[in-house]
Amino acid sequence: MVFNTGAALLDAIVLAVVSKEPEGTYGYKITQEVRQVIELSESTLYPVLRRLQKDDCLEVYDRECAGRNRRYYKVTSRGWAQLHLYEAEWRSYADKIAGLFEGRMSFEGKDEEQ
């Protein structure tokens, strides 16, 4: 892809992927699903998950699976709030870019919000 995925967008994508599983999901699966959406080196995801966990956006728990413990990630209520914020921001962002491309953007008068 020609566009870089910024840190906030990566957070948003990871939160969105994890949020699809009400019971939570695990690192390998998250990586595979994120990689279906954006190009991402496999070693990039762990720091993102770890930091989202520290920010209280994800919670972890261990569940037994095939005789061993597997770590699951689940979106917290704060994570949901953050995800909704990202979704709203993304919609407004995508809408503006699309508006520019399709020529329905008007540049008159309005000050850009910060």
Partner: protein, 224 residues
């Protein structure tokens, strides 16, 4: 060709600089990762992850708080951690604002519904009394005015009748008619004066009084 055990051993060695908790977390994650990928994909995973040094670098970079990501352009220390904090706070604030305003609206609606019979009664009573007073006042003015006009009309009619009677020769009746006419005219002037006084002098004075009373009330509130 490196195998999984060698990869994990090197990674663990490279993570000696960070806290034991962070090291345990990271090692558990990559252990899980190998397990979930399956033994048959071991070499693919190692190839995809790159060298243990690169994996360790990613982990350490994020811990030092200067962003993350494999792409050097994304690694600018933009204080993105603060951004998340700020956005999280903002999200909470938005939620609280929504809660507050909904609560307030519900409260106001309940109060309005509960108080509506009383408010409606008092309100319509006050409006009714005020309307009555105003209507009575203007009714009096109009009544006096109409009465004075009628009295003047009677004056003119009686004088005309008197002139005709006198011309017909009945001077005494004519004089009586003129007297009655002048009496009516006098009362008419009295009513006219009353009308003018009420409409032209008293009404503006009352409005001025009400206006200054309102000003006084508002002024009192503002200074309080």
């Amino acid at each position: 060709m490196m195998n999984r055990a060698e990869f994990m051993r090197q990674l663990e060695a490279l993570l000696q600089g960070i806290s034991p908790t962070e090291r345990e977390e990271a090692l558990q994650y990559y252990n899980d990762y190998f397990n979930d990928a399956g033994a048959e994909n071991e070499q693919d995973v190692i190839a995809a992850l790159g060298t243990p040094a690169r994996v360790a670098e990613n982990i350490k970079r994020d811990l030092s708080g200067s962003g993350y990501g494999d792409n050097p352009e994304e690694r600018k220390p933009t204080g993105r951690h603060d951004m998340v904090e700020y956005q999280g706070t903002r999200a909470r604030e938005i939620k609280e604002e929504k809660k507050m305003s909904t609560g307030m609206i519900v409260l106001i609606v309940i109060l309005a519904v509960l108080a509506s019979p009383i408010l409606l009664g008092i309100g319509s009573g006050v409006v009714g009394i005020l309307t009555g007073i105003v209507a009575a006042w203007f009714g009096l003015i109009i009544g006096f005015g109409v009465a004075s006009i009628l009295l003047f009309v009677i004056l003119v009619v009686l004088i005309a009748a008197a002139v005709m009677t006198i011309m017909a020769g009945d001077i005494i009746v004519g004089m009586g008619l003129i007297g009655g006419g002048l009496l009516c005219g006098g009362i008419g002037i009295l009513f006219l004066m009353l009308t003018v006084a009420m409409a032209g002098i008293a009404t503006p004075a009352i409005f001025r009084g009400i206006a200054s009373l309102c000003r006084g009330l508002f002024g009192g509130k503002q200074t309080a």
